[in-house]
Symmetry: D2
Subunit: 109 residues, 4 copies
Amino acid sequence: MNELQFSDCVRACMSCSLTCANCASACLKEEDLEMMRECIQRCLDCADICQLCARMEQKQSPFMHEMCELCAKACDYCAEECGHHQDDHCQQCAEACRRCAEECRKMAA
Amino acid sequence: MNELQFSDCVRACMSCSLTCANCASACLKEEDLEMMRECIQRCLDCADICQLCARMEQKQSPFMHEMCELCAKACDYCAEECGHHQDDHCQQCAEACRRCAEECRKMAA
Amino acid sequence: MNELQFSDCVRACMSCSLTCANCASACLKEEDLEMMRECIQRCLDCADICQLCARMEQKQSPFMHEMCELCAKACDYCAEECGHHQDDHCQQCAEACRRCAEECRKMAA
Amino acid sequence: MNELQFSDCVRACMSCSLTCANCASACLKEEDLEMMRECIQRCLDCADICQLCARMEQKQSPFMHEMCELCAKACDYCAEECGHHQDDHCQQCAEACRRCAEECRKMAA
């Protein structure tokens, strides 16, 4: 009812941040950890960048457009790696990253 | 479709974090800034605590229960102040804080 | 003795982040709050950006150079405003921002 | 000269946060990744908790004492695991965690 409505971009960023944190954490529990190195690193970066991006957009910071541009790149980079893994958490993460990259590019434009 | 489903508590924390950041930012633009001092301080603390709490719950960190306890207190404290102000952003923030405190208390139990 | 040595840039970013957080907090306690609006907003943005920048540099993230560029801009923007105020916390903040901007520009180059 | 002086506890927290982030990142590059699972997880949690703790102490947040208590626990937990590994980054991390835990306990008392 009396709830703050978040923009599509803010929602995509906050979901992506937590989906990436979730993926890194799930990767660290995978049996074949070796093949998850790169995925974990990219997810951790993306989680942090998306988290700050969501906050800066919500606050309408003067740096939000540049932050969105950077966020879109971090999302692309993470989606590229996660997309290669068949685990559910990786597929969900790749999907969240793609959506977030798209929203951030619209916002940055 | 292939989306990570967040728990009620994670959702409440991420919404509350951004609603608090939004409220602090909107308070800083209010004409009568003097009466917003306390509100801004509490919102900033609450935004940071909720943000970390959402992440730790999503990762199922061993510290998530203690973080939820602390988060519930920060939310109560913020809701107490925001609830006194009639501005939409403050009322939305008080509401988000109350919901988040409730979810965090369930999780911490 | 067995301590991790941080680079000049990482040190400048972590100091700047906390100096900005300190300044925003001190501004919120100033008698003449009205003239501190802009300062608070810029300090909060800069605190968050510097915090993430320090982490990404330390991890040698592939996005560290872009993050340093953004950080330098946020520091310039914050220093510009803080430099106008005579309070100790503002002067310290302007100084920390200038140093951080300089280190980030070297790193980004 | 005109620099903000950080308390021992704030300095310990900010150093520990970045030392943990550094350790997690270095662990992810180790040949024997398998034995680093637990270390990475604990370092990531500790990095996030110390980062927030440093900020809350600097701001003299009403939640700083509880945050320091939680931070001391996260540091103990991380030091326990890192202390078992002979790599430089793990030994540095264990040391930073022990110092931070000690400072946080003094502050929380």
